[in-house]
């Protein structure tokens, strides 16, 4: 059960997020492209007969994650959905966190909150929850479109959809916790964006490497989900170590 103060602060954060066109636009635009438009068009393309078996030259060997492609052209779609879903989960929180935390610091409005009868941890928790709520709402709604397409077009099984959902949820958690950490470390928007770039760039690379190296989308999804879960734990641990109000108020 959340403390009364956290619920009140959450409502404030949510109201501010919904009123912020910039935050809403960035929270919606990229995920729509990554989670709906790109995979949706590919899936529809697959089913219009454009997909053909891969004709490999003799002696060329595909990486483990792509081997199914020789027998089943839809396997490529299934494999590539994994990093796309992960990207969708990674991007929303990192962008929104910059707004929700760093704007408050840059505009010195945190001083107003500190003056009220709330604890520092409650302020941060309300922000974190608002961040998670927006990111989950956006990505889960968009993911449901993917799920309908995957199941409706026969591209994957319900188990495959669940594996993708695990990737989405863990990537969301990882991105939220690391975004919190970045927002605590960065002094301004530019630094936050730079650190986010440094963090998300290699993460995206890891997603594609896992997709290529690990055989089958089930296994690659589960491995990525596990990696994101470990990353979330690490980011939370470090954030708890560095989270002091001195850092937020400086």
């Amino acid at each position: 059960m959340l403390a009364r103060e956290v619920r009140i602060l959450f409502r404030k954060e949510w109201r501010q997020l919904v009123r912020s066109r910039g935050a809403m636009l960035t929270a919606l635009l990229l995920p729509i492209i990554l989670l709906v438009i790109v995979p949706g068009l590919q899936m529809l393309g697959m089913k219009t007969g454009a997909a053909k078996p891969v004709n490999l030259p003799p002696g060329v060997t595909l990486p483990p994650g792509m081997r199914e492609l020789v027998d089943d052209p839809v396997a490529m779609m299934r494999a590539m959905m994994v990093p796309f879903i992960a990207l969708g989960g990674l991007i929303v929180p990192s962008v929104t966190a910059s707004y929700i935390l760093i704007t408050e610091r840059e505009s010195r409005t945190l001083e107003l909150l500190v003056a009220l009868p709330v604890r520092v941890g409650q302020i941060l928790l309300a922000k974190l929850l608002a961040l998670l709520a927006l990111a989950s709402l956006v990505t889960l709604v968009l993911f449901s479109v993917d799920a309908v397409l995957i199941l409706g077009l026969g591209i994957g099984s319900p188990g495959y959809v669940l594996a993708l959902l695990a990737v989405l949820l863990t990537s969301l958690t990882f991105s939220t916790t690391s975004a919190l950490l970045v927002s605590l470390l960065a002094r301004d928007f530019r630094t936050a964006n730079n650190i986010n770039g440094l963090l998300i760039g290699p993460t995206i690379l890891v997603c594609f490497v896992v997709t290529l190296v690990v055989p089958g989308p089930y296994l690659s999804s589960l491995l990525l989900a596990a990696l994101f879960a470990v990353g979330s734990g690490a980011a939370t641990f470090v954030a708890m170590k560095v989270v002091t109000f001195e850092r937020l108020l400086r």
Binding site: I8, S107, T109, E111, L112, V114, A115, V120, F245, E246
Partner: protein, 330 residues
Amino acid sequence: MPGAGCKAGPAWYVRREWEDGRLAPNEHVPLEVSSVTKVYPGGVQALDQVSFRISPGERACLLGPNGAGKTTLIRLLTGALRPSSGRVSLFGLGVEDPGFLQAKRRVGIVPQSPGMYRDLTVDDFLQLVRDLYGSGNIPEVVEAFGLAPFRTRRMAELSGGMQRRLSMAAALVSSPEVLLLDEPTVGLDPVATREVHTFLRKVMPGRTVLLCTHNLAEAEALCESAVILRQGKVLLHERIATLRQRIQPVLVLRATQGPERLAEALTGQGLAFTHEAEAVLVHVADAAAQAPGLLRHLLGAGLDVYECRVVTPSLEDLFLDVVGANDARA
């Protein structure tokens, strides 16, 4: 409790009759700082073994040169920072105590020139404040602080003076017993400063107040005691009236014959005096008793004395005396 012992008038304008700082049974000191040391990450020591307590009904100002640790102390009192050692408490409860928020609800805090939300209106913010305090009358403070025409305006769109009024209105929504004011007039023009002083004069009586300020005239006009900090240490905590007794009043004398002739006539009277431009400043223990005799002596010596007035030491003089002129950039 808010509202106890109030006379007629709005809730935020409560007046209470305190018993000269004495505590009732089971009553805790509103603000207490005990042996507090604060060292920031990086090793910067802001406070060193600071101790003082503000009694119920006391109106104290927190003075000190830049870097003395005033803002750190206010942040410790609000619970935003935690001391490296020692204890800070509101009504006997420290930030680590489960009931700390209950104690904080009895304190209204006006932060030092805070930022204003671009996406919240005045009403949104006051509603948030009331929800967090759990009580309060928004229409009353809106009316009292002249915010009625601005209720639907975004906070960041208010002028500096109106923003400061909003901060004070927010601090008074729940009619708290204690007010913590962190430089409430810094950065305001003279008109807005005067407005803030007028509001403060209305709301301070009957409340326990700690006013952190750089403006010594403001502190003198609004407070009755002073806590002076320097280099993270409390130099003193005394009533301003008691502090005044530390410095003798000065008798300012001017004569048409000039300060040199005045000085000549004063020599041999057993008084310490100094020159300042065209005047001679005579340090006297009891101006009312000594001035008439001195004036008669000077007139008898043929001097045309056209000015003879007593100057009592201001808080600025007291501050300079305590802190030392070299550090007195308060």
